[in-house]
Point group: C2
Chain length 149, copies 2
DNA sequence: CTATAAATTGAAATCCGTTTTCAATATCGT
DNA sequence: ACGATATTGAAAACGGATTTCAATTTATAG
């Protein structure tokens, strides 16, 4: 498995794009982050340490990460695009807490297989898929908490 | 099972909202439509027969349908909100063709059960979920068609 | 059947996240 | 170091969803 840094640099070289300090700063911050942050949230985090980097650059760089395969774009229906590290983090689906916003990942090979079966019966070729369960995470329902607002 | 018309009128009465000709026109057009239309697409269709009805009214009325349970909002990641008749159309997931845009529905009870199992192991209470398979429908891959553009 | 209060309507304006524009700056191959 | 080319940050533009507002329609009370 190639390292994300390497894969990104390869991609830049292949596309004749340039290696800039902003891109490297954003990459290392991105690889360090754990949560599924939106562009806005990520930008606000980054700005604390690197106030010089603009929102547009962050946005463009996250898109580059997605293009070169080290990140994947996610959309949990809240109107914000989110990015997660995908390289070295194999396919998984999500549990999204509607109370605290926490996003947990899970894998289930049986579900994956059943999806393939469904596709087969509809003569459909799967390119991608998404499965999200929305509800209350353990912490939120055990405290009786229903909402953060 | 209550009829959609009835359920909508009950909802209006309960909320002290008014029964207008626009709302009834939109309701009957909505119940008649088969595809998973976006607000914009639905509005353009409707306008052919009912040019007097404005986009804002269509939008507001579709939201009312969702509130009262006869429609459900869907988001297939293309940045458009879509509505489908949900009353009398039990839970199902979707196959979305990335070439022609067609949206097929399917149900799979085994997948549903596995989702419940996953939730249980994470001590998570499911309120809702979404499963979408993206790829090429039968028609699109059998003709070798890869894109409509 | 009015009169009146309240909800609705359509057009236009606003919102809000995403994406693009553009002039100044930085990078990279030579 | 030079010159061509890509990148940057700020601000503008974009696109779909939502709200505003004055005019109109509906429902209720008299």
């Amino acid at each position: 498995m190639k390292k994300p840094e390497e894969q990104f640099l390869d991609y830049l070289a292949r596309k004749r794009l340039k290696n800039t300090s902003q891109r490297m700063t954003i990459l290392s911050a991105f690889l360090r982050q754990k949560a599924h942050l939106s562009t806005e949230e990520f930008y606000l985090q980054l700005r604390k340490k690197h106030p010089g980097i603009g929102y547009a650059t962050v946005h463009r760089t996250l898109k580059l990460f997605a293009e070169c395969g080290i990140a994947s774009e996610r959309n949990f229906g809240d109107g914000q695009m989110r990015f997660e590290v995908s390289l070295g983090n194999e396919h998984h689906d999500h549990l999204v807490c509607t109370s605290c916003g926490q996003i947990l990942e899970f894998e289930n090979q049986q579900i994956e297989q059943l999806q393939v079966d469904v596709a087969k019966t509809h003569n459909f070729i799967i390119e991608d898929h998404r499965l999200e369960l929305y509800g209350l995470c353990s912490a939120c329902h055990s405290t009786g908490q229903q909402s953060v607002s």
